[in-house]
């Protein structure tokens, strides 16, 4: 018994000793508890917020949930397994805030806001005349001018009205197997999709024997008709299958390099745009699973046809990209050389003709309407004039988008013989239907590609592309590698594994959490660049408390702490204010403020 009492004494002693040094939770958090106005919030009870998102963004959702909970909200998570179910929930309005993302693939700020926030826009649920006015005003302005306008827009959109709560700008990153590929030939561009034609093997003798193996997640391709899709399943593929009038450089400047035009220029007044077309690109087609040169040149009539159908909502059923091209008024072929001489270029320094001739071996001697007649050696050229509905310099960015890819007038007209108004999905087969390139009974490849590569056939596992034999033969832009395999790997971890065991050569879009693994692998090279992708929270505008209460939205807005998000992603994200943040440096910044949250929550409670 003596032993026991001794033991008990010892226990009591340790307990007392530890009680003196151990800090309890309320002691540790005491200073915070003393802050004013905490009680008023708790008195009114917690505020319920339903957060909608996709399972792949689970980390973001958890960060936002945690930040909202710490600011006194009660968060209900609505996590959907895929984008389809997410969209269904969003359309049904089953959310207060939806985790949303936007990537400005055209690299211009107008595209970053127009369809998202203008009243009646493709993806817009907002209806605010003030915002409409600012968007339209900025569209007509030059970069120096629109900086201030977009700053005002952000002020209205985010800080004054809190229609969105920004989270971050992502990095765009790709990992290259540098044992196989020459990493210097792999471009990484801010906005545009990966250009395949420049990619080369380390061992150049393998160009014709080995395929370049890439990957993408989606195996179901929306459509290989460029105007019928604008999503991850086809953006990269169509970009490489159809040449455009213009291209974006890696840092989003407009360039004629690697495009259908030798040169381009804007005429005075910012409403007329001129393009001098190349004559060394022909359409390719697939014959017996081999790419052959059709001998048909990509010319001005194809450009006129392609852009007219791109802007016309009724040119095809299920047109997905007409809103990108709604600023195009007319597209025409210029045949009068003198007319080019009489117009001044907007940049100053001479006529349009002089601007178009810059750097050419042979000047413009004659303009021809028939593409077969064009011959740059002899000075016979084709020129396209594009007029916009209003002065809109950013139209060039839209022309660099894959949806402005040039298709063959002859071929598309011969395939799309159906009546658009009475299109029957069971009977009519439109140009670019993915079933026509999928192996099986329906296979009937009718594609005509104007770009460096053409899709031969695909299945659920991979798509096979061949080099276009008629694409700028002998120039530096001639595709280096003959065959490109695009593997469809849905899971990011599997794709990374495939890259690491050299099953694929390049992996586009490495997750931030895997950067270290890629960096530690000597055969891989990680390239990253700030992207135009912005992730933000979108507030519901119908039938919810957040729709009617500005104070509640602002309470959520000021709960968001972007520093925490950056810390979570190991600083592989960048702070954002709105979807224009990656494109225009407006100088705005969202700073989390717990006191403002309390203020706005009180305001919200008092207004009820």
């Amino acid at each position: 018994m003596k032993k026991i009492s001794l033991l008990a004494l010892l226990l009591t002693f340790t307990l007392v000793a530890s009680a003196c040094t151990v800090k309890t939770k309320s002691e540790a958090t005491e200073p915070a508890a003393n802050e004013p106005s905490t009680e008023t919030v708790t008195e009114a009870g917690p505020v319920n917020i339903e957060l909608l998102g996709i399972a792949s963004n689970e980390s973001d959702l958890n960060i936002v949930r945690d930040q909202l909970v710490k600011n006194g909200f009660t968060v209900k998570l609505n996590i959907q397994p895929d984008y389809g179910s997410f969209k269904a929930q969003q359309d049904a309005g089953n959310y207060d805030i939806a985790h949303s993302g936007w990537t400005t693939v055209t690299g211009n700020p107008d595209y970053a806001v127009r369809s998202l926030f203008i009243s009646g826009g493709d993806y817009s649920i907002q209806n605010d005349p003030e915002i409409d006015k600012l968007i339209n005003q900025a569209a007509t302005e030059t970069p120096e001018q629109y900086k201030e306008t977009y700053k005002q827009l952000e002020q209205r959109l985010v800080f004054d009205k809190a229609y969105i709560a920004p989270l971050y700008i992502s990095l765009k990153s790709q990992a290259v197997n540098q044992d196989i590929l020459n990493a210097d030939t792999v471009r990484l561009s801010k906005s545009r999709a990966l250009a395949w034609e420049s990619i080369d093997f380390k061992d150049t003798s393998k160009r014709d024997s080995d395929p370049l193996i890439l990957t993408q997640t989606a195996s179901v391709l929306t459509s290989l008709d460029p105007i019928k899709g604008n999503d991850g399943s086809i953006n990269q593929l169509n970009t490489n299958m159809y040449v455009r009038l213009i291209n974006l450089t890696d840092d989003d400047q407009i360039t004629s390099d690697g495009s259908l035009s030798f040169n381009h220029t804007i005429a005075e007044g910012n409403s007329e745009y001129y393009f001098l077309l190349r004559d060394d690109i022909s359409f390719a087609k697939i014959d017996n699973k081999k790419a052959v040169d059709t001998g048909e040149r990509v010319g001005a009539d194809d450009v006129v046809f392609s852009l007219n159908r791109a802007k016309d909502k009724d040119s095809v059923p299920d047109h997905r990209t007409y809103s990108l091209h709604e600023h195009i008024k007319t597209v025409e072929i210029v045949t009068d050389v003198a007319s080019l001489d009489s117009i001044q270029s907007a940049s100053g320094g001479g006529s349009v003709k002089a601007a178009l001739e810059t750097g050419l071996d042979t000047g413009i001697k004659e303009l021809v309407a028939d593409k077969a007649q064009a011959d740059s050696q002899a000075g016979k050229y084709q020129v396209i004039k594009l007029t916009t509905t209003e002065p809109f310099p950013q139209v060039l960015n839209y022309l660099a988008h894959q949806s402005a890819g040039i298709v063959s007038k002859k071929q598309v007209e011969s395939i799309n013989t159906y009546d658009v108004a009475n299109f029957d999905v069971n009977k009519d087969i439109p140009y670019g239907d993915q079933n026509t390139v999928t192996e099986g009974a329906q296979y009937n490849n009718t594609l005509y590609a104007s770009g460096p590569y053409i899709l031969s056939h695909k299945n659920d596992y991979e798509g096979i592309f061949y080099k276009n034999p008629g694409y700028r033969k002998g120039s530096e832009h001639e595709p280096k590698i003959s065959t490109v395999n695009v593997r469809f790997i849905a899971d990011a971890d599997s794709a990374l594994s495939a890259l690491r065991n050299s099953e694929i050569h390049l992996y586009y879009g490495v997750p931030e959490t895997k950067y270290d693994i890629v960096k530690n692998d000597s055969k891989l090279k990680l390239q990253s660049i700030e992207s135009n992708g912005v992730t933000y929270l979108l507030f519901n505008t119908k039938n919810r408390e957040v729709a009617s209460s500005e104070a509640l939205r602002k309470a959520v807005l000021y709960s968001i702490n972007q520093d925490d998000i950056l810390a979570f992603y190991n600083n592989n994200k960048i702070k954002a204010v709105s979807t224009v943040s990656p494109l225009v440096d407006t100088g705005n910044e969202l700073v989390a403020d717990a006191n403002k949250v309390k203020e706005y929550l009180n305001e919200y409670h008092n207004s009820k």
Binding site: I4, L11, L15, T24, I63, I79
Partner: protein, 493 residues
């Protein structure tokens, strides 16, 4: 002949088992004490490994001595038993196996109560040790100090009970004045220490019957079960987890498991974060402790529901036979034809993911197997004479089923259910792993494992520890199930 004797000696088999397990752990620790990449030795791990090795060697010597004792004199000498006191020190290294073996070695004529008292004490000590790790954290839960004091007092009482039981329980006879102790023991089981409950009940029964074998079956089952080391270790881990799940309400801070802490992201194991932190800076150790709660609740209820429903359906169809039997069993066959996990996924997808739906989803698929087991038992039991006798006396069917048939056919159901709780725990984790279980931030072993699986290469501990927890719990249920089967089987001696 001597060989047979020491083989049948419990002390010898326990000693052998514990030195082998300890040596195994020591080898694992030794291997992990050397970092292959940095070519450096981790001193702390190495020390623990050496301590384990030391005890393993001591235990090996002890096992050898027991063997010699038995071979020479047919009994273990007191000096050998006294060596058990040295081995008790292994408790400080957290070595359950040697401690349990030592405690059993010390006592010459052990009984069920002594074993239960040993495990009661061990459970309490382990819960306190695990909870005390919170002292290294920046702060502890507000209720930590009172709760840990209560736990210490309770465990002190358990130690006293152990001494009392060791001293005053002779064979099957318990001193009558032990009943207040027994009642107190039952009261202390609110800490989740089910061993205390069992010990209390056992004591009360013994006191009440005062040596008369009135409840032979109960005594026999527990007697057999407590003599099986593996099943007691399994039961220990289950009770320990249950007790942890209960005590963690007061000794752990839930916020540590759910609130993100961006200043402590992906930290390797340290004293403040014994198992490291995950990518949101949450303490993995705290998450696993809280995760036990959901795993146990879902595991238990998703087994209990099919046992009750399936058992009832099986009993009815087995007893009435013919058309009733056909209708019920064919309908259940239809249900049986749908793969269980697929059915669960469908139910979750339709009704949403939360704990309640998870339990329902996992329960429904398991009903047919229980109904089949029950039906087979009932078919057998209902042919026994005592059932016929009851029927001849005019007892109502319902009464016959409940009073005479179900008790007789329950044993296989109990065994089956302990074995399937393990499967239910795995299913819960699988569903969470697939994103169909509870919300991702809620600590649940499958969730934790899912998060860890993306860091397998860089921070493997994030996946290893929750994985180990799942393995241990499932293994424990399986060991317990095996032990129960042996204990309940009348054919096994």
């Amino acid at each position: 002949m001597a060989k047979l004797t020491f083989k049948s000696s419990l002390e010898y088999s326990e000693a052998t088992f514990s030195w082998i397990v300890t040596a195994g752990i020591a080898v694992i620790l030794l291997l992990s004490s050397y970092d292959l990449w940095t070519q450096a030795v981790r001193p702390s791990v190495l020390i623990i490994a050496l301590v384990y090795l030391l005890f393993a060697l001591l235990q090996l010597g002890l096992a050898w001595r027991i063997r010699n004792d038995i071979a020479r004199s047919g009994a273990i000498r007191s000096s050998t038993r006294a060596l058990g006191y040295i081995q008790l020190l292994s408790l400080f290294s957290g070595n359950l196996f040697i401690t349990a073996s030592a405690l059993h070695l010390i006592k010459r004529d052990r009984n069920t109560e002594y074993t239960l008292a040993v495990y009661t004490l061990l459970t309490g000590l382990f819960v306190i040790a695990i909870s005390a790790l919170n002292l290294f954290k920046p702060y502890v839960a507000d209720t930590f100090l009172p709760a840990i004091s209560l736990l210490l007092i309770t465990t002190g009482f358990h130690l006293i009970s152990l001494l009392l039981v060791a001293r005053f329980m002779k064979g099957r006879i318990a001193a009558p004045w032990l009943s207040p102790v027994a009642i107190l023991l039952i009261l202390t089981s609110v800490t989740g220490n089910l061993f205390a409950l069992l010990l209390g009940i056992n004591l009360l029964i013994k006191i009440r019957h005062n040596g008369k074998p009135a409840t032979a079956k109960w005594e026999e089952v527990w007697g057999k079960l407590t003599r099986s080391t593996t099943s007691m270790i399994g039961l220990f881990f289950i009770v320990f987890l249950f007790s942890m799940a209960v005590c963690s309400y007061f000794t752990f801070d839930y916020a540590m498991a759910t609130e993100n802490n961006y200043s402590a992201i992906l930290q390797h194991p340290s004293l403040a974060y014994p198992l490291g932190t995950d990518n949101f800076g949450r303490c993995l150790f705290t998450r696993i402790v809280f995760g036990a709660r959901i795993s146990l609740i879902v595991g238990f209820f998703s087994t209990l529901i099919p046992v009750v429903i399936g058992g009832a359906l099986g009993a009815i169809s087995g007893y009435y036979g013919r058309r009733t039997d056909n209708i019920i069993m064919r309908l259940l066959d239809v249900l049986y034809a749908i793969p269980g996990i697929l059915l669960a996924i469908a139910i979750i997808a339709a009704f949403g993911a939360n704990t309640f739906n998870l339990i329902i989803a996992l329960s429904v698929g398991a009903i047919p197997t229980y109904a089949r087991t029950m039906r087979a038992n009932v078919l057998l039991v209902s042919t026994f004479e005592y059932v016929e006798a009851a029927r001849a006396l005019g007892t109502r069917d319902l009464l016959i089923i409940i009073k005479h048939i179900i008790p007789g056919s329950l044993a296989p159901m109990i065994v089956k259910s302990t074995l399937t709780i393990g499967a239910a725990v795995i299913s819960t984790s699988s569903l969470s792993f697939l994103g169909l279980g509870v919300e991702p931030h809620i600590p649940e072993w499958g969730n934790i494992l899912k998060l860890g699986s993306t860091y397998l290469e860089s921070h493997s501990y994030l996946a290893i520890y929750p994985g180990l927890a799942i393995i241990l719990l499932v293994l424990s249920f399986n060991f317990l199930g095996d032990g129960l089967r042996d204990a309940l089987d009348p054919k096994l001696g």
